[in-house]
Amino acid sequence: MGKKMNISIIKSILCFFLVFALSGCLGAREINDLEIVIGMGVDKDENAGNILLTAQVVKENAVGGASGNGGGGDDEAYWNVSSKGESIFDAVRQMTHKTGNRLFISHNQAVIFGNDVAKEGLQEYIDFFLCAHEMRPAALILVAEDRASDVLDAKPETEKFPAMNIAKLVKTYGFTSHLYKVNMKDFALWLMSDTTAPLAPLLTIIQNGENKEIYVSGMAAFKNGKMVGKLNHDESRGLLWVLGEVRSGVIIVSTPDEQGKAVLEILKAKSKVTPEIKDGKIVMHIKIKEESSLSEQSTTENLADDKAFEKIQKSSAEVIRQEIMAAFDKSREFNADIFGFGEMLHKKYSNEWKTLKDNWDEIYPTIELNIDVESKIIKTDLLKKPAAPKEGEK
């Protein structure tokens, strides 16, 4: 008995030590030895076939905290290191010739692809970012109107790091719903889909005197991994209406008396899309339910009554309808299924889908939309009627 006990104790102790061999991610790295990357840009190099990788690295000594004696000042807190390589991983490792330390990309906020790279196709460039175990699937994917390295160079006014600033611009898309936050995981899933076209926010640089300002001008649409076109703000929101991703935003309609504008703030939006195949024709029934508040008006007319509401609601529904149609028209133009209609059909008509799938490119432009928008104003914020001279109501 005693001997048996002893053996079992020895066995359990051995098992305990074996557990240490199982760990996969051991390996200590002191923070001092890390080059914390917060943003990366991918461009094409002048030499054909080569790529130019730009990494935005945090300069610890220039961040400027309590102990930054003498430092701080105008010194930039970041360092944009660039290196050339035949592939991204090659370029990442080439970078150690400049940094001395291996790049630490777990905190990478955004990966920005240059226009030339995006047009050529992201498929071959994105693989590294999906493979690398340090990379987070939540890192944002963006496309630059021109070169990605220029975007990372534009120094923001309130943020210390351009990459952080860009991430902030995209993450707060809900204020306007004019663009959509796309991260690594979303993009990869879209890429794997047969029909759905991936999207990514599009960054433009505006030259404002000496300063460069970063501006999100819309969304870039991809097809088969290649960038095929751009959606402007309204078209992007048209897309978001259908996807049900509109968080908030502003709808401007003219007042019933045509004298001025009524401005509505979107409070809530819901969408429901039901595909239908009728006589060989595909019809997408899109039902949008939207609630908004009357936030601003530029006439003296008191809009806060049922009659005026009804008219404004009607015209705001029309605005929404137009936005959706604009987005759809644009997508028909470059024949990319940005709405994911293909996937919806696949779910509902899995039998028919087998035949539809093969010539989806021909079918997509023929899809008909049946849009039903229900827009409702539920409050007028703080004012019951506009602050205007009394003459209006004699």
Binding site: F16, V19, F20, S23, C25, L26, G27, A28, R29, E30, I31, N32, L34, I36, I38, V58, E60, N61, V63, G65, A66, S67, G68, F104, S106, H107, Q109, E134, R136, M164
Partner: protein
């Protein structure tokens, strides 16, 4: 390998035991007292040849001063005034009040005790060794010529400190009295809280040289008889020269001497000890120390304070949770910091990582060494501050705060975040005083594991600690009760403190059979004045 070490220790302890027995047999005082006073005094004088504080007073008494007697006592142990007033005076003058031919045998100790001695605390001794024991315990010994027995009389009070608020367990609300070094006073303090005939006080004398009084205090009708029997057995097993503090007893009777966790609790507060005795525990009181041992102890007791029960339950529950958190911070704080900054930088929010990186920019040491240095400095400061007299202790505190907090950061030796982590750890470690020792050891172990294997190492260490805790017993009670094994009614007083009127049971793991009779009325919940109650009268 452990078995081998154990055998060596066992062998050594056995050897010691044999040696003790040898020295014991050398002494031979087990002679009876003879009726010849001169002979007895000769023996005693021989024993105390070199002790000048032993007073031997010979006197004659009786009407014709024809009886001889001797009084032996140790100066200052026995109160001289009391001896004069209550022993010598009655014997020498009180006797004269009797008629000459009164029928009292002045050579019999019994008749003297019954007729003359006006002190209650006395006992007869018939052996020289017993006589010596009583003498050393502070009694005055009355020897009468012609009597085979002597009378040991305990005169008056002994010198002791007054009852003060205990230094280790200050309270905001609650009684401010604390135990003192005199065990008799301590027992009286308990008696004053529990006026019950079932409160038992069993006496043991432990220590060959110190002959320390040790008492087991418990309530007969509540405590598990097996527990009391086990305590008796373990106390009787102690063979040691001297018991100077209750810590000696603790180390000889605890369940797992190799564990870093204490399995016997101690307290300086009578109300706390009384509460525990009422729950079915037993207190072990040792003469000469204000620290009273209480068994069995459960891990959860470290997180309970008497004030939890004096304050209303809501705030008490919040404080309870804070204590748990602070124990976690105090043991795991530096370990988690090191694991995160050395192994799992991806888990730190980006902004925080950048600030940490900025703070560590000039630090030349690895984070592990940095943490060790700071913890060592903290423990050093604490130890130095405790031992020094108060005015100097403050100086140490100021120097420490300046050197550690300011200068080391400014010099770039330590990162500011490490200072924050270590000070948070230090503050948290004082919130659970009962586990300060184990917490300090665990802190270093976890820190080392974090430095070796990161979060994985910390988790392994936690697992091992948990397994160890779950395997501990304190006098038959599972250490982690009521969590392991799970007892729902016991959980009322673990993570939160339920109102007192919901706790109608004693802890089952301690009292076993007697846990139900705690309260007779089924509904103790207080309520506002109700009309129906009044009407029905």
């Amino acid at each position: 390998m452990f078995g081998f070490i154990y055998k060596i220790i066992r062998y050594l302890s056995l050897k010691n035991k044999n040696m003790l027995q040898n020295t014991e047999s050398d002494k031979n005082n087990s002679e009876p007292i003879t009726p010849d006073l001169e002979k007895n005094l000769e023996v005693i004088k021989g024993i105390f040849r070199d002790s000048s504080d032993v007073t031997i007073h010979e006197f004659n008494f009786g009407h014709e001063r024809k009886f001889k007697g001797a009084l032996i006592f140790i100066d200052n142990l026995a109160n001289k005034e009391e001896i004069h007033k209550n022993i010598l005076q009655p014997l020498m003058y009180g006797v004269l009040l009797f008629r000459n031919n009164v029928d009292i045998d002045f050579t019999k100790i019994d008749s003297i005790r019954e007729n003359l001695i006006s002190m209650t605390d006395n006992s007869k001794v018939s052996m020289i060794s017993d006589l010596l024991d009583s003498l050393l315990a502070g009694s005055a010994i009355l020897l009468i010529d012609g009597s085979k027995e002597a009378l040991a009389i305990k005169p008056g009070k002994r010198e002791s400190r007054s009852i003060e608020e205990p230094g280790t367990e200050a309270v905001v609300r609650g009684p401010r009295e604390g135990f003192i070094e005199n065990v008799n006073v301590n027992i009286a303090l308990i008696r004053r809280k529990i006026k019950d005939t079932d409160l038992c006080v069993e006496k043991f004398v432990i220590g060959d040289k110190s002959k320390t009084d040790v008492y087991i205090v418990y309530i007969k009708s509540i405590a598990n008889p097996k527990l009391i029997e086990e305590i008796r057995k373990r106390l009787k097993r102690i063979k040691i020269e001297a018991i100077l503090e209750s810590g000696y007893i603790e180390q000889f009777i605890e369940d797992s001497p190799y564990s870093i966790f204490p399995t016997i609790s101690n307290s300086e507060k009578p109300d706390k000890v009384a509460a525990k005795i009422l729950e079915g525990r037993a207190a072990i009181m040792v003469d000469g120390t204000p620290f009273v041992l209480v068994v069995p102890m459960m891990f959860i007791e470290s997180f309970q304070s008497v004030e939890d029960y004096y304050a209303r339950p809501f705030f008490a529950s919040i404080i309870r949770v804070i204590r748990f958190l602070s124990y976690i911070i105090s043991t795991l704080g530096p370990a988690i910091y090191v694991a995160l900054t050395v192994f799992h930088q991806e888990l730190i929010p980006t902004q925080l990582l950048i600030s940490i990186a900025e703070g560590r920019e000039r630090v030349p040491f690895p984070a592990l060494l940095e943490a060790f240095l700071m913890l060592f400095a903290f423990d050093l400061l604490r130890e130095a501050g405790v031992r020094l007299p108060k005015p100097v202790g403050q100086t140490v505190g100021i120097v420490g705060a300046l050197v550690l907090g300011e200068a080391s950061v400014e010099a770039g030796l330590i990162s500011p975040i490490m200072v924050i982590v270590v000070s948070a750890t230090a503050i948290a470690s004082f919130a659970v005083p009962a586990q300060t020792d184990s917490g300090t050891i665990l802190r270093y172990i976890y820190l080392a594991l974090a430095g070796i294997a990161g979060g994985f190492g910390v988790i392994m260490g936690l697992l091992a600690t948990l397994l160890h805790l779950a395997s501990l017993r304190s006098f038959g009670t599972p250490y982690l009760w009521p969590v392991v094994p799970l007892d729902l009614s016991g959980l009322k007083d673990v993570f939160i403190r339920m109102p007192l009127w919901t706790m109608s049971k004693r802890p089952e793991a301690i009292t076993w059979d007697n846990c139900d009779s705690y309260s007779q009325s089924p509904d103790l919940m207080p309520s506002a004045y109700k009309k129906d109650d009044n009407d029905s009268k």
